[in-house]
């Protein structure tokens, strides 16, 4: 059972979070201001801090000092990325309920981090990446079709594809016809050109 500390300035809010912490583990204590939280972390071994309304700067100082402690933050979407960069393990919407917090605890236990969608968009912008318009829907190929496509990309004929995958010549042709249909191509060459543009075959 993980040990919890809770941080929230408003006592009603703190009470609600403490209730969740008790359900998910052992609640060590709640803190209503930053200094109280700092003292608590110095005194006791805390696995998870459940905090509402903490700023990135304060969080950064805490995560540096207590690297083994994980922080679940309830915050505005606009603060999410900064909180993640400051070492937060999970950022949830301000109004997140007990169920969302419980899933964050599980995800963190598996070594995962949680960030909201909006933070991902900001992350992309920060990385200078703009997603390409997804007008050419990615076709959904079966695992077998992926194997056939990879063989086609290597320049294998139907016969060679059949031999390589241990299937009959006619089955190979069937898969190829299906790939052509899914990629909306008349010929193998056209299908491969489209597949390459979608990143479905390696160059």
């Amino acid at each position: 059972m993980p040990s919890f500390a809770v941080f929230a300035v408003e006592s009603a809010r703190r009470g609600a979070l403490e209730a969740v912490a008790r359900r998910e583990g052992t609640l060590i204590d709640g803190a209503g201001d930053r200094d109280a939280l700092r003292r608590l972390l110095e005194r006791r071994l805390i696995d998870i801090v459940l905090a509402a309304g903490i700023d990135a700067e304060t969080l950064a100082s805490l995560t540096v000092r207590h690297p083994a402690t994980r922080f679940i933050l309830l915050a505005e979407d606009s603060e999410a990325l900064d909180l993640v960069l400051a070492g937060g393990a999970a950022v949830l919407p301000r109004e997140a309920g007990a169920a969302a917090i419980a899933s964050a605890v599980v995800a963190m236990g598996s070594g995962l981090r949680l960030i909201p969608d909006l933070a991902l968009d900001r992350l992309r912008a920060l990385a200078g990446v703009q997603p390409v318009a997804t007008e050419d829907e990615m076709p959904v190929l079966t695992p077998r079709e992926h194997e056939v496509l990879a063989a086609m990309a290597d320049g294998a004929s139907n016969k060679v594809i059949a031999r390589r995958l241990g299937i009959s010549f006619h089955t190979a042709k069937f898969h190829i016809a299906s790939i052509l249909a899914k990629l909306d191509a008349d010929t193998r060459t056209e299908a491969l050109a489209r597949a390459a543009r979608m990143g479905l075959v390696m160059l």
């Binding site: 290597d154 004929s157 010929t187 060459t189 491969l192 390459a196 979608m198 479905l200 390696m202």
Partner: protein, 291 residues
């Protein structure tokens, strides 16, 4: 009193004579499937045909003008230029009279000649578009663009593009969107030499699945072959390749064109965006792993 010959009849007879002369070097190719295709007797004992239309790798037969059949073996395929090369025991079968496609201009009158099981199979039209060197959708380098204003019968695929002198200037194939086009002679010569020597055409390989991204313009690595040169050189999924030896790249197709046979073994300097910051990576292109 001598009768003035009717020009239309003259033209018609001339076309028939051209077709007949050119067709001596054109063979039928039975390579599996229900439909036979055509091929050109390129050099003694060497036939070229359309790669995409040739289904089988074994048990291939060529059918001569007189209906005689000869067993042929596959010397190799190059899907990037749509050329397959067959070998047979050379005998007195006539070789096609080859000419140079570089002289073709848009508007030139041309024939295509294939071989149907019942005889020569002809079509006529003009060169719809004669252009410079181009790359096929699969990255094959083709010396001249020759798009034909005619409908190519499936049985005539792999047959000859013939000019008004009766010379074979290239091979007639079906291109993208079912358009008839011709692979020019010089490209065929080059591919035939390589296929006869090595049995396959080497293709450069990075080992990365790429998708274009708009901003910054480049191609994003979305998958990596862990044994491929890109992964070995340290490329990561999520890296955006923005430059290739200093030149910007923005389309996956451009990358394909940068991987011709002679790229194998060469080292390229990639310009990257990694985590928002520019980076550089140098890698050596390897040959695409075998079939």
């Amino acid at each position: 009193m001598t009768e003035t010959p009717d020009p239309l009849t003259l033209l018609s007879d001339r076309l028939a004579a051209l077709t007949e002369r050119a067709s001596a070097g054109i063979v039928g190719v039975r390579g599996g499937g229900r439909r036979p295709i055509s091929g050109i007797h390129w050099r003694p004992g060497i036939v070229v045909t359309a790669e995409e239309a040739l289904e089988r790798d074994e048990g291939i037969e060529i059918v001569a003008a007189d209906g005689t059949r000869r067993a042929a073996t596959l010397a190799g395929r190059d899907p990037s230029t749509d050329i397959a090369v067959l070998r047979f025991q050379p005998d007195d079968l006539p070789v096609a009279a080859l000419g140079d496609a570089a002289s073709l201009r848009t508007g030139h009158f041309v024939l295509t000649v294939g071989r149907h099981e019942r005889g020569a199979l002809a079509a006529s039209g003009i060169v719809a578009l004669a252009g410079g060197a181009w790359h096929s959708a699969r990255g094959g380098a083709i010396d001249h663009l020759v798009r034909l204003d005619l409908r190519l019968a499936p049985a005539a695929e792999g047959g000859a593009l013939v000019d008004t002198k009766g010379q074979v200037l290239g091979m007639a194939v079906t291109g993208p969107r079912r358009r008839a086009l011709a692979i020019p002679r010089s490209t065929i010569d080059r591919v035939v030499d390589q296929l006869l020597a090595k049995g396959h055409i080497a293709r450069g390989y990075l080992g990365a699945g790429l998708r274009p991204v708009a901003q910054p313009a480049g191609v994003l690595a979305i998958s990596l072959d862990s044994d491929g040169p890109a992964a070995k050189a340290g490329l990561l999924v999520g890296d955006i390749i923005t430059a290739w030896n200093g030149k910007p790249v923005g389309r996956v197709r451009e990358v394909m064109h940068l991987l011709p046979p002679d790229s194998v073994g060469s080292t390229v300097e990639l310009g990257l965006i990694r985590g928002g910051a520019p980076a550089k990576l140098s890698l050596t292109i390897r040959e695409r792993p075998g079939k």
